[in-house]
């Protein structure tokens, strides 16, 4: 029990650090593409600390209060349900308590909590953002579900552990090569998951200030930030596990997640934003069609 708590604490902290670092990198990379110098690598740490230490804070009600906790619990929960490094018996966390379906559905936990908090804030913009976000989420989940089905039916398992183990026979056994279309579809869905352009309709600053967390400030916002950072890492780890052969060591985990993280950033900096219904339709049809190709292959 103690070891489990310690392992979870370690994982969560590591993910927080890695997530904030990746965030810092992304800000730097974006700035360089834009031709700016950009902030420091540690800027996100500084921001987080500043928010956390702020004395004054407001709240709008119980759900507003609880939403950051939902966010943090949801993010760490997803992270600890996913196996991190193949063969590492020290840090296994809760990855044997559930399979891919559980992880996919548990990913909604944090989102739901944040949405509820946004709702309780009473700010119309926050709720507009939630309405957009939910609409978009339901759209990319269509193709992501297809991807999950491809993996589950193709490898005859839902266990993430076994999905990783099935990819250990060299790089060509990665699902990236086994199911290229499904992987492509998954990578497209990664964009809205990471709120990257052209799918950044939730945090669209020109339209609705910053979306759901509009009313959040100080410590609440620092929780939100941490949650988002951890959640981002959890998603990357999940993708690495599903398509890129998992990670055989901590280095390879960091490396793979870093590379994967760069993908949305590069796409994000060069694309403008979709309108909401365009985004929804794109996500319904394009990635789903890609995944459907592999789904058909799996069925036949």
């Amino acid at each position: 029990m103690i070891s489990l708590v310690m392992s979870i604490t370690f994982t969560a902290l590591a993910a927080l650090v890695w997530g904030l670092l990746l965030g810092g990198i992304s800000r730097m990379v974006t700035a360089r593409i834009h031709g700016r110098i950009g902030p420091r690598l540690t800027q996100n740490f500084i921001d987080l600390w500043k928010l956390f230490r702020k004395k004054s804070s407001i709240h709008h009600g119980t759900m507003f209060w609880l939403a950051p906790m939902f966010r943090v619990a949801g993010a760490i929960g997803v992270l600890v349900l996913v196996p991190l490094v193949v063969g590492n018996t020290v840090i296994v966390n809760m990855s044997f308590s559930g399979d891919l379906l559980l992880v996919v559905y548990f990913m909604f936990f944090g989102c739901l909590g944040m949405a509820l908090g946004a709702g309780d804030s009473g700010h119309p913009y926050a709720v507009i953002a939630v309405s957009r976000g939910l609409a978009q989420m339901s759209s990319y989940e269509l193709s992501f579900s297809a991807v999950v089905l491809v993996l589950a039916a193709g490898l005859r398992t839902l266990s993430i552990e076994e999905i990783i183990m099935a990819q250990q026979d060299g790089i060509l056994s990665w699902n990236l090569f086994r199911y290229p279309f499904a992987t492509a579809a998954a990578l497209i869905t990664l964009l809205p998951m990471q709120m990257a352009y052209p799918f950044s309709i939730v945090l669209a600053p020109q339209e609705i200030p910053i979306g759901p967390p509009t009313e959040y400030s100080s410590r609440f916002l620092s929780f939100m930030f941490s949650g988002r950072a951890i959640f981002g890492v959890a998603k990357l780890v999940l993708f690495v596990n599903l398509f890129f052969g998992g990670a055989s060591s901590w280095i390879s985990l960091l490396f793979k997640t870093f590379l994967l993280y760069m993908f949305p950033i590069f796409v994000s900096t060069v694309f403008p934003r979709f309108r909401t219904e365009q985004s929804i339709r794109f996500l319904w049809f394009v990635p789903t069609s890609l995944a459907a190709i592999d789904l058909l292959r799996v069925m036949i």
Binding site: A73, S131, A135
Partner: protein, 971 residues
């Protein structure tokens, strides 16, 4: 002597009242009543003498000799058991109808009394000429009484009745001439002595005469006009006196007709029933509807004459005709003559019973007869059975439409009549149900697994008990409905105990129609009730057909099974049939919606389970068809739920959508699929009940279910919000709460079977569920509190306590699903014929061939993390300050004034836009399309009733010619 008294006391009364009514009108009414009471007494004495009430020796008789000799030399009256019971009905109707009929014109009193004598004469007549005399007396009085009312169209009706009875006289006398010339006899037995051409001629003539007299389609034109145009008071008395007598007399003649193959009568009846009821489907005036219903009963009489004999025939005709007569009499008595559209203002509550009696809903008396008739027909010809079932269904539809016009006002002093007749009908129901008791069975043998039986009984029983307290909190405009809800719930609770089809059917129908009544008592129920009733009737008739086809157990493969499956889908309110479910759920009183969506929808699941198991090979006719139906429902209804902005409507769509998952699970026909289905059935019960009860509380306190007028209620109703939140998280399938399990088993089953496209759509649908789940929470409880609702209170305890109990159960099974699964999985595994492997339960871990799920661990982890975050926040700094709902940052934009900005309507507008490429298929339009086809069919049928009296005469003559040609075997 008693017979003579029974027949002629009213005649004596008639003579006296002629004299008295001019001088002492009031006294004359009293005296007439006394004479009628005397006659009634005599008939009751007769009935006891004949032991008629056992309904088993209806052939017993007492003969009254009027001449010097014994038959055939003299005219005799013969009181048989059946005729005596009909006579009692005639008397009761006359006594009850007298005040209504004579309230304006006391001079009609002698006519009424004479009509009773004529009716009794006809009931007791033994020979053809005697019958002729009574028939003519009856016709003359009918014309007279029609003309004596104050209705606008009385003359037109009178002319038509006169013309038709003129023609009947001629045809009947011709028949008498032929019979007498050939046999020298006029007793009914003479009909059997005919051979060759005379037999043919007499058959044709008598059949035409009888069908015209009993108003069987297609010779019913004049009868329809009569029922529509005559005063409701007279039409009512007529239907329970003279019309009943003519029907019973015809019932005596029909089997004696010298036709080689009497079954042709049944075919004429069945054809007439379908066509006539198609026409009736189009009727708008209540009187005309009753006319068409009358034609239906005439057709049924023909069917009975063609397919049954002896004791069955006597019993069935008697039961059908007397109870239909009583019911029709009641309907007319409730009609208000002041009104141009008479029944609209009559008493709605009392109207329902007679209408259900006529429609043959169990356990009302007519049902038993119709059930027996259908059982017999199943052995005769499935085609005839189908025709009759369709006809009866169409009849039920327009009768229910008549009722759902929601009449509200009582007539002055109008309660005695319906009270007495309702008692009679109830007594009949009890009497006949007791008679058929032995055919019922409560062994529970339809579902072999006692675990599942107990599970379903728990759902039904607990659902009833938990909704019941809430039924006392009614909002404005709702009438008391707890009794009907309780009745529906009790029948449901016994449903799993049913041991055979008929028992199941009765419980099913009682539950369904009790629910219809309960829904109709909502404040805005008019929209929902009619389609609910129609689908309930449709699923009932399908079930009935399958029961009689498979000989009492409805679980035979082939056609019965398909019928059962469709019945269950109708009941579930699946896509297509969601027309009723969504309307009814949103129109019903709020607690009733909880009962229906949470509890009674599970009856259809039970039916499907039973039906699937009963076929031996568990797969439903096509499991994949079922699964596709389920998944399309799940998706389309979820989208509809996301886009509607009415609290109850959203829950209704959501409920239908969730039932789709159960269908998929059952369609899989694997252990995994069924585990998913049963798991989801139980948990759907838990969280849908919580949701609807929560909605009931909100609607009870705020008086609205419109999203745009709600919002921010978390501040006023925190407990309701908490329960709703938990159940929303549960049904959205978000771990760690219970809804996830159902989805997990379902996808496991789908992937195991390889139904990936279905799995994909199901997954998508379950994500769309988030849309309406969040929108619901936000629009009602979050956002900004409207000033209108600033002072609402928390929901009443009667709603909160059941929600609390259900939530506790939900939490328990969320964290420890194995407590539930370790009973259910072995039970499902032991069911015969299910393929695939079962999930393995080991401690708190459930394992399938594909994956594993440790709900306890996940639950603890989430609680731990959540608790950690909470405590960490609590300890890490000062408490935040609470600010008002208008203190929000507008990012530099300053609203002109502080105003509420609750965003609830048109919530997923982009979604709607993105969906714009889809054609809009509206279920209402689909059904109005079907209705349109029915209407066109009805219109083309009823076009023959031109309203011109001579057309009606032509019908009779053409019918005569056709029958003669047919009987001759060609021209």
């Amino acid at each position: 002597m008693v017979v003579a008294l029974a027949v002629f006391l009213p005649l004596l009364g008639a003579f006296i009242s002629v004299w008295l009514s001019r001088r002492k009108p009031r006294l004359s009414v009293i005296v007439s009543r006394l004479f009628l009471a005397g006659g009634l007494h005599s008939t009751i004495v007769l009935s006891i003498k004949l032991n008629a009430w056992s309904f088993s020796d209806l052939g017993n008789s007492i003969i009254l000799r009027t001449g010097v000799g014994a038959p055939p030399l003299s005219i005799n009256l013969e009181a048989t058991g059946g005729a005596v019971i009909a006579a009692i009905v005639v008397y009761v109707a006359a006594i009850l109808g007298i005040s209504r009929l004579t309230s304006r014109n006391v001079k009609t009193l002698p006519l009424l009394l004479s009509l009773v004598t004529a009716s009794l004469g006809l009931l007791f007549a033994t020979d053809l000429f005697n019958s002729f005399v009574f028939l003519e007396i009856g016709s003359i009085i009918t014309i007279g009484l029609t003309a004596a009312c104050r209705c606008r169209r009385r003359w037109e009706v009178a002319v038509k009745v006169a013309l038709v009875s003129g023609l009947v006289t001629i045809l009947y006398l011709l028949a008498i001439v032929v019979i007498y010339k050939t046999t020298g006899e006029l007793r009914f037995e003479a009909l059997g002595m005919l051979h060759g051409f005379p037999a043919l001629l007499v058959s044709g003539l008598m059949l035409t005469v009888i069908m015209t007299e009993i108003k069987a389609f297609p010779l019913s034109g004049w009868g329809l006009d009569f029922y529509e145009g005559a005063s409701p008071g007279f039409a009512g008395v007529y239907s329970a006196t003279w019309s009943l007598a003519v029907l019973m007399w015809s019932a005596g003649i029909l089997p004696r007709l010298p036709i080689p193959n009497l079954q042709i009568l049944a075919w004429i009846g069945a054809g007439g029933l379908v066509l006539g009821q198609f026409a009736g489907f189009r009727a708008t005036s209540p009187g005309r509807m009753m006319g068409y219903s009358s034609a239906a009963y005439a057709s049924i009489l023909l069917i009975l004459a063609g397919t049954t004999t002896g004791h069955d025939y006597l019993q069935l005709t008697l039961v059908l005709m007397i109870f239909a007569a009583i019911a029709k009499f009641t309907v007319f008595m409730l009609a208000d003559p002041e009104n141009e559209n008479p029944l609209k203002s009559a008493a709605g509550n009392l109207l329902l019973l007679p209408i259900l009696v006529i429609a043959g809903i169990p356990p009302l008396p007519v049902f038993w007869a119709k059930f027996k008739l259908l059982s017999i027909l199943a052995g005769v010809s499935p085609l005839m059975l189908a025709a009759v079932v369709l006809g009866l269904f169409l009849e039920a539809v327009y009768l229910l439409r008549l009722w759902s016009k929601r009449p509200v006002r009582f007539l002055k002093n109008g309660r005695l009549v319906p009270a007495v007749t309702s008692l009679l009908m109830a007594a009949g129901a009890i009497w006949l149900t007791a008679g058929f008791w032995r055919s019922l069975s409560f062994s529970g043998s339809l579902l072999s697994s006692s675990t599942l039986r107990i599970l379903f009984m728990t759902v039904f029983g607990a659902g009833t008990l938990l909704t019941l307290p809430g039924a006392w909190n009614r909002i404005k405009g709702e009438r008391s409905y707890w009794f009907w809800m309780l009745l529906s719930g009790i029948s449901l609770t016994f449903l799993p105990m049913a041991g055979n089809g008929i028992t199941f059917y009765i419980l099913w129908e009682v539950s369904a129609f009790a629910a219809v009544i309960a829904v109709s008592r909502g404040s805005r129920a008019a929209a929902g009730t009619f389609w609910f009733a129609v689908f309930a009737a449709a699923s009932g008739f399908l079930l009935l057909a399958s029961i009689v086809l498979s000989r009492s157990m409805f679980i035979a493969p082939g056609i019965p099974l398909i019928l059962v499956a469709i019945a269950a889908l109708f009941k579930l309110g699946q896509m297509g049939a969601h027309l009723w479910s969504v309307r009814a759920y949103s129109a019903a009183p709020a607690t009733m919606s909880a009962f229906m969506a949470g509890t009674s929808s599970k009856a259809a699941v039970f039916l499907l389970v039973v039906a699937a198991l009963g076929t031996g090979a568990v797969a439903m006719p096509a499991g994949s068809v079922l699964a596709w139906a389920g998944v399309l429902t799940a998706l389309s209804m979820a989208v509809m739920a996301a886009l509607s902005s009415d609290y109850k409507k959203v829950l209704a769509y959501a409920s239908v959508s969730q039932m789709g998952y159960i269908l998929i699970g059952l369609g899989l026909a694997s252990v995994m699929g069924w585990t998913a289905a049963i798991y989801h059935t139980f948990h759907h019960f838990l969280f849908k009940m919580i949701l609807f009860l929560g909605a009931a509380g909100v609607i009870f306190r705020t008086g609205t279910s419109d999203y745009n007028r709600l919002g921010g209620l978390i501040r006023r109703m925190p407990l309701t919000f908490t329960f709703t939140l938990i159940s929303v998280i549960a049904f959205a399938g978000v771990p760690p709460l219970a809804g996830f399990g159902g989805k997990w088993f379902l996808y496991n089953g789908l992937i195991e079977t390889g139904w990936l496209p279905i799995a994909l759509i199901a997954m998508f649908a379950s994500v769309v569920a988030f849309l309406y789940a969040f929108r619901l929470l936000h629009a009602v409880f979050l956002g900004q509190l409207s000033t209108v609702n600033a002072r609402v209170k928390e929901a009443p305890l009667a709603l909160l306590v059941p929600q609390g109990i259900l939530t506790a159960a939900l939490m328990l099974f969320s964290f420890r699903p194995t407590l539930f699964l370790e009973h259910i999985v072995p039970a499902i595994e032991s069911l015969p014929g299910l393929k695939g492997v079962a999930p393995v339960i080991n401690g708190t871990i459930v394992t399938t061939p594909l994956g594993n799920w440790n709900a306890w661990a996940v639950g603890m982890m989430v609680m731990g993390l959540f608790g950690f975050a909470f405590v960490f926040y609590w300890l890490s700094g000062k408490r935040p300050k609470h600010v008002g709902q208008l203190d929000i940052g507008f990012a530099g934009e300053l609203p002109p004034s502080a105003e509420e900005v609750h965003y609830a309507g048109n919530f997923f507008k982009p979604y709607r836009r993105a969906l714009a490429f889809l054609p809009r298929i509206h279920a209402g339009k689909v059904f109005s399309g079907i209705t349109e086809v029915f209407k066109i069919a009805g219109d083309s049928v009823r076009a023959i009733f031109t309203g011109d009296a001579r057309t009606y005469l032509a019908h009779s003559l053409i019918f005569l010619v056709i029958v003669l040609i047919y009987l001759r075997g060609g021209i």
